[in-house]
Amino acid sequence: MAGAASALFLLDIKGHVLIWRDYRGDVTAAQAERFFIKHLEKEGDPQSQDPVVYDNGITYMFIQHNNVYLMTASRQNCNATSLLLFLHRLVDVFKHYFEVLEEESLRDNFVVVYELLDEVMDFGFPQYTEGKILSEFIKTDAYRMEVTQRPPMAVTNAVSWRSEGIRYKKNEVFLDVVESVNILVNSNGQIIRSDVVGALKMRTYLTGMPECKLGLNDRILLEAQGRAAKGKAIDLDDIKFHQCVRLARFENDRTISFIPPDGAFDLMTYRLSTQVKPLIWVEAQVEKHSRSRIEIMVKARSQFKERRVVYSVLFVSNPLQKVDSEVGSLFAL
């Protein structure tokens, strides 16, 4: 059900309010601060905290970024996903403005932060979170010019991610595919599950309002066109598109058509669950010699083709974190 945030807080690592914005007048900063400091003390490790906490009639939702917490407070049954995601988008906006989002950069730019908080949310409803367009009419001191005459059309336009009148002498488009492989292995070395999450990263430097189209070797599409898929087609389990892509069109004829934002963005992300052989197979053997001595042997074996070369292999050892004597005997790497 609809429902909106009562207030938005930016807090430091100890839980003190740095800057906050009241949208509905039914939650005070003192109240929120008292709750949050108590919560941080009680919970200890911030990574393990439930991001949604109910206290005294108010629901707090928060995320952490560097040494800053971003938190919404709400008294209504609001769209939790929307608000949590909004906090993430806000981080992006702040990063676009200040390069790094941390306590210092917020203080250094507090006036702009206030202006942004006024613009990105109205009456507790998320409004507009495209950093690039926002910076056309909310500017930091260094870039500030006198009164902008009007809000950019993009704010209320159907194409809300691109401004009009962009010009390039040389029109260029770059496409990158970045895939990450997730594999779940049990302690016997058996692969339980594997999937690939990929992103089509695009970088566009195009003039005007260009209409772009992209084809995929997607099995469903190829079959629809009557072209037999010869080993090269893939089955994508799920595809997510950037908001510039016309979803209805894709649903109809599997064409990806869009007017791209200017600069870098993720055109689409996808997931396919297939059997993937891990590029490097790691085995660990744990041997316990005494109460205080444990020997861990780790073997790493490459499994890719000989003619390939892999760069920047990084081994992360998982230190025995937070293991007390009782659990120590149980710990398996």
Binding site: N77, F98, W161, D266
Partner: protein
């Protein structure tokens, strides 16, 4: 972009100095830079909660008319912050704001409108009605969008004023605006008002629903969620309408914004209620699974929300994720709140087919380092034994393996769940008792102790040295919690009944403690009751009462009842789904959402479930059982029966629910405690000795499951 360097302004300022700074500059200060810095200092102090800044109110207001957007914004911020504390001074800002509402720059018009409507002062509210009316028709979409929200804000401040104006009608007209963003804003504003007042009706006809779905792709991501949420107020009048709309919004499932995806899932689940053709529903259901799984590869917070909602969707539409149990297996670095929710889902999806895989997984969780999570995993294994009969054996084997680790909290947790397994499958797995007995010394938590004591009492005749084991526990009887004391009392009585010679000595000791030395009413009452029961010449009576057949337990108690589930499904993605509690239990003023009647509304086949879910009939059931037990031939039966009758008469005027409870309470005092206590978990009751005996669902389980 480069950043500023204003952190240095965060120094506690003195009012007098700031006042001078604010007035300085004069004509030489061309860009008002001196004033700007002074204002920044004031805002910084305001941020630090330096309430002396209120004293500068008139001085700040004097700067408002300066034609500089920066200065204006800071002044407005100051105004919104302090207006409620000094409303009489704030009034001076009103003319400037009203003037700005007419400004040629849409940015300033919108800014002024946003500001004026944030000020909760009567004069401001009254003064902004007319301009809002005008700006709803502004030629700039950005201003119209702001005006839409303004109506909801004014409604929040002063319901009557808004209702007496034509603002709501005008807002309704905004749904016909040419700009999609404005339409979505109007819908957000209307839904907001709808939620706060039961008198506001928000009905969307098919034509309008169809129109807003049309503009869906032209809104930004947040606007799309507002439109989708508003669609929850559309009641399909026939199956075709619902199907058509569902198919038109389904492409949103491919949106990159998870909020759009989850809200779309909510609307689809809602529309399913109005679609007759199950093939259509199956087709659409198949589209829901992949996006839900994809949400699990997002950041932990979003994953968590997706999982909470998956818990719901699974109960309502089990086919959606049926084959995907592996995607819910925990990653070692998942945050604990994600792991715990995944565990609940794994439990729900476990079937006879995948039980091996599930047990392997749970066994690994049971050796993790987070104690809380380990306990839940062990508990889940025990509950699986109860849920799936054919899986009981492998579950017990796994539990015994875990007991062999000798880690105290694992042993204790396992003891508790094995007790429950005994309850569910009596006389089947007693062979494991000896293994459990080896670990008696590691039990130090009341719940585990009580569980072990129950097992010993229940199988006193089969455990060779049961009297010695109990005697060991009795050594610390007086220091134990009441929970354990009650369990010990019942167990010794059971021992005595099964092995009179071995138990005679200790049962007297315990009865004496319970009746003479304890200050706990339940313990004393029960002590007296046993005493009398045991002194009754016919010993078979005591045996019949104490060793009676126990009501069976199930593991399904964690499922939501049908009414709550239906409500939850109408709220997918909202906070209520995180708490998994009926909306009004958490948000007292929230307006509940129910499925609206329509010719297309599909009746659920399982409506019979509704009745079972409610406590009413169940309480009566319990009552009946107890009545039977009492009839066994208690000495004071006639008198008691008369008393019960009298009580019945007295409570005839009381509502059926509370009466049933009271009667259960009465009966409990004289009913077989060994059996009666178990039912107590279902009914909140002051009298029933809830801690007396093992309960079907251990009470740590208040949070839905495990």
């Amino acid at each position: 972009m480069s950043g500023g360097a204003d952190a240095k302004l965060f120094a506690r300022g003195k009012v007098a100095e700031l006042k001078i700074e604010l007035e300085s500059g004069g004509k030489k200060d061309k860009n008002h830079s001196a004033k700007k810095i002074a204002l920044k200092k004031i805002v910084a102090n305001m941020t630090m909660n330096n309430n002396d800044m209120i004293l500068l109110f008139p001085d700040v207001l004097n700067q408002m008319a300066i034609p500089s957007l920066d200065i204006k914004k800071m002044c407005f911020l100051y105004l919104v912050n302090y207006a409620r504390i000094k409303p009489e001074i704030a009034l001076k800002a009103l003319p400037v704001l009203l003037n700005d509402l007419e400004d040629g720059n849409p940015l300033i018009r919108a800014l002024a409108l946003r500001t004026i409507s944030y000020v909760h002062v009567r004069e401001f509210v009254e003064a902004s009605v007319a301009p809002t009316r005008k700006l709803l028709k502004d030629n700039d979409a950005y201003v119209r969008k702001t005006a839409c929200y303004c109506v909801a804000k004014l409604y929040d401040h002063d319901r009557i004023t808004v209702e007496n104006s034509n603002l709501i009608d005008l807002l309704n007209n905004m749904l016909r605006d040419e700009n999609p963003t404005v339409v979505s804003s109007a819908l957000a504003s209307l839904t907001d008002m709808w939620q706060r007042n039961d008198n506001i009706k928000l009905t969307i006809e098919y034509d309008s629903a169809s129109k807003v779905v049309q503009i869906l792709p032209d809104c930004n991501e947040w606007g799309q969620t507002y439109i989708l949420e508003a669609l929850m107020n559309y009641v399909p009048q026939n199956t075709n309408e619902a199907t058509l709309l569902a198919e038109r919004i389904a492409p949103r499932l491919s949106h990159t914004n998870s909020a759009v995806v989850l809200t779309c899932i909510r609307v689809l689940l809602y529309l399913f209620n109005y679609i007759a053709d199950s093939k259509v529903i199956d087709g659409l259901c198949a589209k829901l699974s992949p996006p839900l799984v994809t949400l699990l590869s997002k950041g932990p917070e979003i994953q968590y929300l997706a999982l909470r909602n998956a818990l719901l969707i699974l109960q309502r539409r089990p086919d959606i994720l049926r084959n995907d149990i592996r995607v819910f297996f925990c990653k070692y670095n998942d945050p604990i709140y994600v792991k715990v929710t995944k565990l609940e889902i794994i439990f729900m999806l476990a079937t006879e087919k995948n039980i091996r895989e599930v047990l392997n997984e749970l066994r690994e969780y049971s050796t993790e380092i987070d104690v809380h999570f380990v306990r839940k995993s062990v508990r889940a294994i025990g509950k699986l034994a109860i849920k799936i009969e054919n899986a009981a054996k492998p579950c017990i084997d796994t539990l015994l393996e875990l007991v062999a680790t000798k880690v105290t909290y694992i042993v204790q947790e396992a003891t508790v769940v094995i007790r429950n397994i005994f309850r569910k499958y009596p006389n089947k797995y007693e062979s494991v008792i000896s293994t459990l007995c080896e670990h008696l010394d590691s039990l130090d938590e009341p719940e585990a102790k009580a569980a072990m004591v129950w097992i010993i009492g229940e199988y006193a005749d089969r455990i060779e040295n049961s009297n010695e084991l109990l005697d060991d526990f009795l050594f610390t009887f007086k220091e134990e919690t009441y929970e354990v004391q009650l369990a010990l009392l019942t167990a010794t009585v059971k021992l005595f009944i099964q092995r009179p010679t071995k138990g005679a000595e200790i049962v007297q000791k315990v009865l004496k403690w319970a009746t003479e030395e304890s200050d706990h009413p339940d313990l004393r009452e029960r002590g007296f009751f046993y005493w009398r029961l045991l002194s009754y010449p016919d010993t078979t009576v005591a045996k019949k009462v104490v060793m009676c057949e126990k009501p069976t337990i199930t593991a399904e108690s964690e499922k939501l009842d049908a009414v709550t589930l239906e409500e939850m499904c109408l709220n997918v993605g909202t906070l209520a789904t995180v708490y998994l509690k009926p909306v009004q239990q958490v948000f007292r003023h929230a307006r509940p959402r129910r499925l609206q009647e329509s010719p297309a509304l599909q009746r659920r086949a399982s409506s019979a479930q509704l009745a079972v879910g409610r406590p009413g009939p169940l309480a009566v059931d319990v009552n009946g059982q107890h009545g039977a037990a009492v009839g066994v031939g208690h000495p004071g039966q006639a008198n008691l029966a008369a008393a019960v009758d009298a009580a019945d008469e007295y409570f005839a005027g009381v509502g059926p629910q509370s009466m049933a409870n009271l009667r259960v309470g009465d009966d409990n005092l004289m009913s077989p405690v060994g059996g009666a206590g178990e039912q107590g978990g279902m009914i909140v009751n002051a009298y029933s000795p809830q801690h007396a005996a093992p309960r079907g669902t251990p009470h740590q389980n208040d949070d839905l499951l495990l």
